[in-house]
């Protein structure tokens, strides 16, 4: 049994919020360099270079990559042999978000009630997903999610008969409907199977996988390649101004489902594929 004090959780979340909003991972740099090599449109290449320049500048000046520093989506993998001490786990996480977004001068983008729409002023509450796992570690992932890409996302309950072709068509239709709005070149999380909420959750989790890394199952990896090829044949391109690279990558996640169902969720991530992790 490992004890983890809530103060440590709060300070970790605080740091992860700031880091995720200002520093993009090595996988992002590799993916955008690859995109530069593949892109045929001169304007699109200039735009990708500009995004790289922006990312460099964000690190240099400790400024947010994008002003939409999003809703803080926090994924917890909580070992069943961990004991949280000194307070409430979720309160500790929200306190970390509050401190991170305040001390980091990040934008507060959360309204407390979706109908009344008054800003909470500190970007809380976070959206927290907890998974109980074996062991005595707590893994915390903070993925700030902007609304430009989230708004273009969706879910459809396909029929088993729709099959792979139906899935590909749905994703490509979503990409075409989204156009420039989700800030392409995007990353596309595709959750297939489960049920309504499970498909959405695995689509979001798919966005956390490093860019360029394929699904371990060969048939899922092949589907990722197929969807990516079709998406990049739309011509939408970086910022929607035309080009080859509409998506930097497509990540598929699968989950067992009902004999009569084929749920498919599409979660768009803008080019600022932000997330930061820590293991306590």
């Amino acid at each position: 049994m490992k004890e983890i004090p809530v103060e440590l959780i709060t300070s970790t979340v605080e740091n992860l919020c700031i880091k995720a909003c200002t520093v993009l991972g090595d996988d992002w740099w590799e993916a955008t360099n690859k995109a530069l090599a593949q892109e045929e449109s001169p304007l699109a290449r200039d735009l990708i270079k500009l995004l790289q320049e922006n990312a460099r500048l964000a690190v240099e000046t400790n400024e947010a990559i994008c002003q939409d520093t999003g809703v803080a989506v926090v994924f917890l993998e909580l070992g069943q042999d961990v004991r949280i001490t000194g307070g409430s786990l979720y309160a500790a996480i929200n306190e970390g978000v509050r401190r991170g977004y305040t001390k980091g001068y990040l934008r507060k983008s959360v309204v407390g009630d979706p109908l009344i729409r008054k800003n909470t002023g500190d970007n809380t509450p976070a959206i927290i997903h907890t998974e109980i796992v074996d062991g005595e570690n707590l893994k915390i992932t903070v993925a700030p999610k902007g609304v430009g890409s989230e708004n273009m996302s969706g879910i459809k309950m396909l029929k088993p008969a729709d099959g792979e072709e139906g899935i590909i068509k749905y994703v490509v239709d979503m990409v075409e409907a989204a156009g420039a709005n989700p800030c392409p070149p995007v990353v596309i999380g595709v959750g297939i199977g489960g049920n309504l909420e499970q498909a959405g959750l695995i689509a979001k989790k798919a966005l956390l996988r490093p860019l360029g890394q394929r699904h371990p199952l060969p048939h899922a990896a092949a589907l990722e390649e197929k969807i990516l090829e079709r998406v990049n044949a739309t011509g939408i391109g970086p910022q929607g101004l035309g080009g080859r690279i509409t998506a930097l990558d497509v990540h598929v996640e699968l989950y067992p489902t009902h004999i009569g169902g084929l749920p498919v969720a599409v979660n768009f991530q803008c080019h600022a594929a932000r997330h930061a992790e820590a293991i306590l």
Binding site: L50, E63, A64, N151, C183, T234, G235, I236, G242, G243
Partner: protein, 184 residues
């Protein structure tokens, strides 16, 4: 590269064509979802507006807060489509000449732009740190209670945009995407 200075006139706008790269200088105003709603509600209620938008540009942005010693935090464009429901009235009745954002617009917005000679500029979505450097002064002039959605008066220097939709209805998205489309 074309340099323009606000306020804009119809003559300046008539010379701008979709795809032109433009550097904006002078004063522009920020406004996004909640500010648009309030402006339109205020107008419809017959009350005085907190800002005169005649011949001005609205930048669809909700910036990050400024760090000590800085003018403003990251300040890239947000999705323009969410403002479409309000935009025709703001163009027609408040005399707005220009908008800066990202993404497509509805036919109603484009019709209003054609009829009243207005222009839609695109800034690079997600380049918030970089675009912030072209903003030299920022002050909140209305709706401070809306936090990042307050209306700011910004002074910009060589703020880089491209003409997305011109006052003749030409649309850079359509032209650009068609060129690279491989799907049937």
């Amino acid at each position: 590269m074309i340099k323009i200075t606000t306020p804009l006139t119809a003559e300046v706008i008539k010379d701008l064509k979709a795809g032109d790269q433009v550097l904006i200088n002078g004063v522009i105003y920020t406004g996004r979802d909640a500010a648009h709603r309030r402006l339109v509600e205020t107008y419809k209620a017959g009350k005085e507006l907190p800002v005169d938008l005649k011949d001005q540009i609205i930048y669809y942005v909700g910036p990050c807060p400024a760090k000590p010693g800085k003018v403003i935090g990251a300040a890239g464009p947000t999705t323009s489509g969410r403002m479409d429901a309000y935009t025709p009235l703001i163009i027609e009745k408040m005399g707005l000449r220009g908008m800066i954002g990202k993404g497509g617009r509805t036919p109603e917005v484009i019709e209003a732009m054609k009829e009243h000679t207005a222009v839609y500029f695109l800034a690079v979505g997600g380049a918030g740190a970089l675009l912030a450097q072209r903003i030299k002064k920022a002050e909140i002039i209305a709706y401070e209670d809306l936090g990042p959605e307050a209306i700011y008066r910004l002074e910009v220097e060589d703020f880089p945009v491209v003409v997305g939709i011109d006052c003749y209805g030409n649309n850079l998205y359509q032209v650009g995407q068609a060129k690279y489309r491989k799907l049937a």
